[in-house]
Amino acid sequence: MVKFTDLITRKFQNIAGSRYEEILKAYEEFFLTEEEMVIPDIKSILIPLDRYTTTVPDEVYETISAYPNARLQLVYMIDENVCRLIKDTLGEEDAKKFREKEERRAREILSRMRDRIRELGIIWAEDTVFGDKSEYVESIAGEYDMLIISKHYGSETAKTHTVSPVVFRIVQYVGRPVVLY
């Protein structure tokens, strides 16, 4: 008597071949793993911003509103390396102008976000930092439970590469949940 499980396994292999593995692989991108199913306890959130992330969509505020007791840290990053490059090639005056322009942009973005966050009743703090965009975020990410970051943070993106390389690096290095917008 043929064992039913053996018969099914043999027939399944004959009919489906390697197609099942290919399909499962495609689905892996969508299905949450057991680890991802655990809803993390979020008490602090870091939101890095820069010249490439001038618009923050409503979805980000909706996500933040899901954690009313979390402490929010907004950090506007000014690229230290770009400043140095301008100083070395165009001179100190242009570097100063660039920095002032960046600081003005930081004030505008943080002011816009401040109003929206205040409406949500969430405690927040804000800062403007002069440094390396990925290294700085990686160095402080451990102090927070979650990161919310734009796909365009750190560099220009293209149609073919919708996530900036700086974001790729941050996502790879920080051991914290990251929400990309």
């Binding site: 043929v2 039913f4 499980t5 018969l7 099914i8 396994t9 043999r10 027939k11 399944f12 292999q13 004959n14 009919i15 489906a16 197609r19 099942y20 399909i23 499962l24 495609a26 689905y27 991108e29 969508f30 299905f31 949450l32 199913m37 809803i39």
Partner: protein, 427 residues
């Protein structure tokens, strides 16, 4: 008196059938070896091979397989699966109904194995998130796939074979089989619900998990190539529309499928090597081998003798409808419905000398397609879903399947044969 040729043809036929049933060797190998014996011994002369090799069936299957292979890479099927999952909102009853309807609908136009291969992983994932017994949902999917396949000319290989051999159009199938399939689908869902209603209650404390795991899925993420996705939808829709008019256009269904495949290859720029490599050549050679083996039974006169013997007992169309539908159903529950249909087609053709065969084709389609629901090995879709369930640690035993499958088979074939009887014989 039985001739030597007849004895050889019957022996090869029985041997190949036994090998297919035992699954000791691949069914394609069995059919190819059998066909080789027939040709080497000249039971069917070489010049008559094209007569028995039903190119209408083989090319229609090849065309549709090519279309599916190209469309599959766009993420179309994953998109459908995610969309269905989200529409169900994690409600077990909605999951049962929506997945059954979508599976039946997709299976009516594309092949059943591909349909269940692509939808089952999503169904298993959802039932895990809902923390419910996945068995009724998987069984409903299998039954819906076989029922959906019954509805159209291109839904299931037996229908393709019947349509090609009997010259039936796509609309003939829509008019005769689609209403039966429609009613049978809801009867099936009802039976599954009654049999497993206790499993249809989701745990109320799972709502947060369901929201996170199902509602957060984004169907747009499934689209790997947006242009190909759009082109695939347009071409599949165009092919389906063309099927509705193929008889008016004077085109064989196989021509529609091959033309659709060619246009999609041209329009999408997909690699022909890749798209054609993924065509299930083993299945096509299996069909080819079978056609030659069954052709040997026709050539030697064995089929005519069997038909004469049957006509000694069956005198009216009504009797033939009942006999063919129920015999086909129980046979297809045990043996592969493709060789079974290949054998029955010349038999029904031979019966055409003494009665109208038109209603008999519907009886054969009904029995061959829905009979597959009877056992776990009755149809390829059953094997695929049960096999996938095993791999995911979900045990569906032969007995588990049989208990529900036989009830579904008897109910759906009973309802279908009653409708065919009422339509063609009357009270």
């Amino acid at each position: 008196m039985i001739s030597t040729g007849e004895i050889i043809a019957l022996s090869v036929f029985s041997g190949v059938y036994a090998l297919i049933m035992s699954e000791k060797i691949h069914r394609t190998v069995a059919a190819m070896v059998g066909a080789s014996v027939i040709m080497v011994l000249n039971i069917v002369p070489w010049d008559k091979i094209p007569k028995y090799l039903d190119l209408g069936t083989i090319l229609l299957l090849a065309g549709m397989m090519t279309v599916v292979n190209i469309a599959k890479d766009s993420g179309l099927f994953e998109y459908i699966a995610i969309k269905t999952a989200k529409l169900s909102k994690g409600d077990p009853m909605k999951v049962l109904l929506l997945f059954s309807v979508i599976t039946a609908l997709v299976s009516a136009f594309l092949d059943n194995v591909t349909t269940v291969l692509l939808l089952t992983p999503m169904l298993i994932y959802i039932t895990r998130q809902m923390d419910v017994n996945p068995v009724p949902f998987l069984l409903a999917e299998v039954f819906a796939s076989n029922i959906g396949g019954t509805a159209t000319l291109i839904g299931d290989p037996p229908n393709i074979m019947i349509g090609s051999a009997a010259g039936l159009s796509f609309n003939d199938f829509i008019l005769n089989m689609a209403p039966i399939a429609f009613l049978d689908l809801f009867v099936t869902v009802g039976i599954i619900y009654l049999a497993y209603r206790s499993a249809m209650n989701a745990h109320s404390n799972r709502s947060e998990v369901i929201t996170l795991s199902i509602m957060s899925l984004n169907e747009e993420d499934a689209i790997k190539d947006r242009m190909l996705f759009r082109k695939s939808i347009v071409m599949i829709a165009a092919i389906i529309v063309a099927f509705f008019f193929h008889d008016k256009l004077g085109l064989q269904p196989a021509v529609i499928a091959l033309t659709g495949a060619s246009i999609l290859l041209l329009w999408s720029g997909a690699s022909p090597e890749y798209a054609l490599e993924k065509v299930e050549w083993a299945t096509l050679f299996f069909f080819g081998g079978l056609f030659i083996i069954v052709g040997s039974l026709v050539e030697t006169g064995a089929i005519d003798q069997l038909a004469d013997w049957m006509l000694g007992y069956v005198h009216t169309e009504g009797q033939a409808i009942l006999l063919i539908s129920w015999f086909s159903a129980f046979s297809s529950a045990i043996v592969d419905n493709i060789p079974f249909t290949a054998t029955m087609i010349p038999l029904i053709k031979a019966m055409g000398n003494s009665m109208s065969t038109y209603p008999l084709w519907w009886a054969l389609s009904l029995g061959a397609c829905l009979g597959g629901n009877g056992t776990a090995i009755g149809a390829s879709a059953n094997v695929v879903v049960v096999g996938m369930a095993y791999r995911e640690g979900i045990k569906i035993t032969f007995g588990d399947f049989l208990k529900v499958g036989m009830v579904i088979m008897v109910a759906t074939v009973g309802l279908g044969s009653a409708l065919i009887w009422l339509r063609y014989v009357g009270l």
